[in-house]
Symmetry: none
Subunit: 425 residues, 2 copies
Amino acid sequence: MRCWILTIGDELINGLRVDTNTAWLAARLSDLGVEVERAVSLGDDDGAIRDALAGALAGTDLVIVSGGLGPTQDDRTKEAVAAHFGVGMTRIPEIEEAVQTFFATRGRSITPVNLDQALVPDGFAWHINPRGTAPGLLKEQDDRLLFVLPGVPGEMRAFWHDWLEPLLQDRLGGRHIIRRRWFQTTGIGESDLFSRVGGLEDLAPTITLAYLPSAWGVALYVTGKGEDAPAVEAALAQAEARIVAGSGDWFFARGDVTLAEHLAEQLRERGLHLAVAESCTGGLLADTLTNVPGASEWLDRTWVTYSNQSKTEELGVPAELIAAQGAVSEPVARAMAEGARQQSGSDFALATTGIAGPTGGTPGKPVGLVFLACAGPAGTVVRRYLQGENGRRYNKQRAAANALDLLRRLVEKRNPFQGGWESPG
Amino acid sequence: MRCWILTIGDELINGLRVDTNTAWLAARLSDLGVEVERAVSLGDDDGAIRDALAGALAGTDLVIVSGGLGPTQDDRTKEAVAAHFGVGMTRIPEIEEAVQTFFATRGRSITPVNLDQALVPDGFAWHINPRGTAPGLLKEQDDRLLFVLPGVPGEMRAFWHDWLEPLLQDRLGGRHIIRRRWFQTTGIGESDLFSRVGGLEDLAPTITLAYLPSAWGVALYVTGKGEDAPAVEAALAQAEARIVAGSGDWFFARGDVTLAEHLAEQLRERGLHLAVAESCTGGLLADTLTNVPGASEWLDRTWVTYSNQSKTEELGVPAELIAAQGAVSEPVARAMAEGARQQSGSDFALATTGIAGPTGGTPGKPVGLVFLACAGPAGTVVRRYLQGENGRRYNKQRAAANALDLLRRLVEKRNPFQGGWESPG
């Protein structure tokens, strides 16, 4: 099945927005064995949309359009699509009702342009928007499918799960075998990991391996392709064995799982509770942990103690200790974690303190110095490291990732200093 | 000047990488007054590249290709470009020397494929890569420019600054004036805002207006274009006056400024300090506020009080109040904010409590019910609202944005209930 993706919106071609819908859709399509041949971004312009649509529909089996379905005059996609097929539009009462319900349940007032979302080009099937007001549209002609979806990522993704995925699965049947596996690592750089795991070139072409680094770790993404399911599974098993052996204790999970999700599972399984006292990560640890549904089962409370006074008042860090050692020091990180553990009655407590910069560094304590502490039933472990000048946000993320890795290693009883970590104690 | 961008690489159309080069290039081109009409992403495939190149070169003045210039066999761009023009390639000694120097200064060994970077399609100008090994290529024909650049973002950007920008500025001369303005709003939906501000169609074609909604608010982005600077400035002034008047107290800042950055400035200017007690936003407020450099000047401390016990122990919310009213209630939100203010000695304190779902709702208190409280020198204000089923992350963002909007309105002495907010008190 040959596919083109068209993403529509002035913001995509004037530099205001990075198009993330294409990559998201392409990954899901790829999971179904559909290869995207081309992705085109266009502005909100009738002529350009019609021109691109004609190009896309010639010689492909599937075209997915996203964007330009908003209620205002600058959104042109539906009009351009109707003009391409030379059809008018008809008002669909079920959509109008869904739009009215959408506004009513949110206590928002509705305007006539909102109700025009109920207009559907003649000859198109439609699907109610589970998250917004613009319906999804489908034109089916000569075994060729054209989907038209909103560009808001949450709405587009909801349509995929509710509508496109089951429909496409049904059409494709089982003729293409494609299997994907994720392996998650953290605390090791891409090139170090590559020197341990390699590229698995000897398993090509059945197996391809991609390294996907982020601030939170390096994910390994394995694709197995072929005509014969047992052969693909056997190659995947070989790939998995080599990845898991090569990445050692830096490996933490199989699957498309974040470090926080993995930790949530480890804590929940063991019936453990966590508290967090943050300084340099500024709430990012709490935010990351509470993104996991059900976090309240294992996360008791967290603090951001920015001021020295708050470290003393909230966590019981002695004021004299801060005065003598500085807020960014091994003993203060330790006292923050131990204070948070005691105050909350949790099993584990994490603490972060560091010099975020750009100012505040000294020769003995340069900008980028970070201490991470984890207090637990077996005592407190402190890690020290120096982060590069990668910007405030990236440094917060790296410190949060390293703190979660420290907690993971203590919860799972692994060596917390593997791979060059310094113990300042 | 009409422009197309082609980005090339299998990873861009199989979902492994989001294409950020297009938005980066489009923003820079736009600053020069060049409008990108279309952006196309393709795999590393000779036929597809030749086909797209033919389409791009027909009827445009400028085509920028990035990607697919790596030294390995899977990179196809240079071969496809040479084939499109029906030319061979010639080895350029200066490029070969630069590649050898690149490897030598990094202490890396060179292979014959690396030296093939010195092959340039006949009839093309070339430019040494300031950051890597693949040269930039330029074909000029009938006033039409075709640039071919590497896809590695750092290399592509270096070529832009060193080569494309000065060359294009020279070609364009001063004949095109382009000015941009941002206007930030929050607390109002896109369609409501549109019904107040409109599309400014009467100021076209000098002025174009884009609405850019996110979980944090709606940004208005105005572009003024023309041949005559005073006329463009006059039209921009008209646009600004109408946007600011139309968006009323929902307008909070000019420029490319986030809500948190704006608040930081307001607090700093007034010498005010802030504390935050979070439940349903789970640390996102703290994280968002501490992304602003210098946040420690005005942010004293924050809590995430997930458990009922932590609300009592940390913030002094009476246990009986939680038992009688429930943790998600007007009095508990109020008590959290007032407790946080008192405990920290801050001027203002924000609190959030809500039923994030998917479980935990009752008929009287459905999933999505949120209370936001702000305690300040003039007393405490509580807002109540019901959020839709938009997913955990989006709901956290909306609650955080609404809480920051409440704080902004109290700090700036604006009406905190404008626009349909409910006061549950």
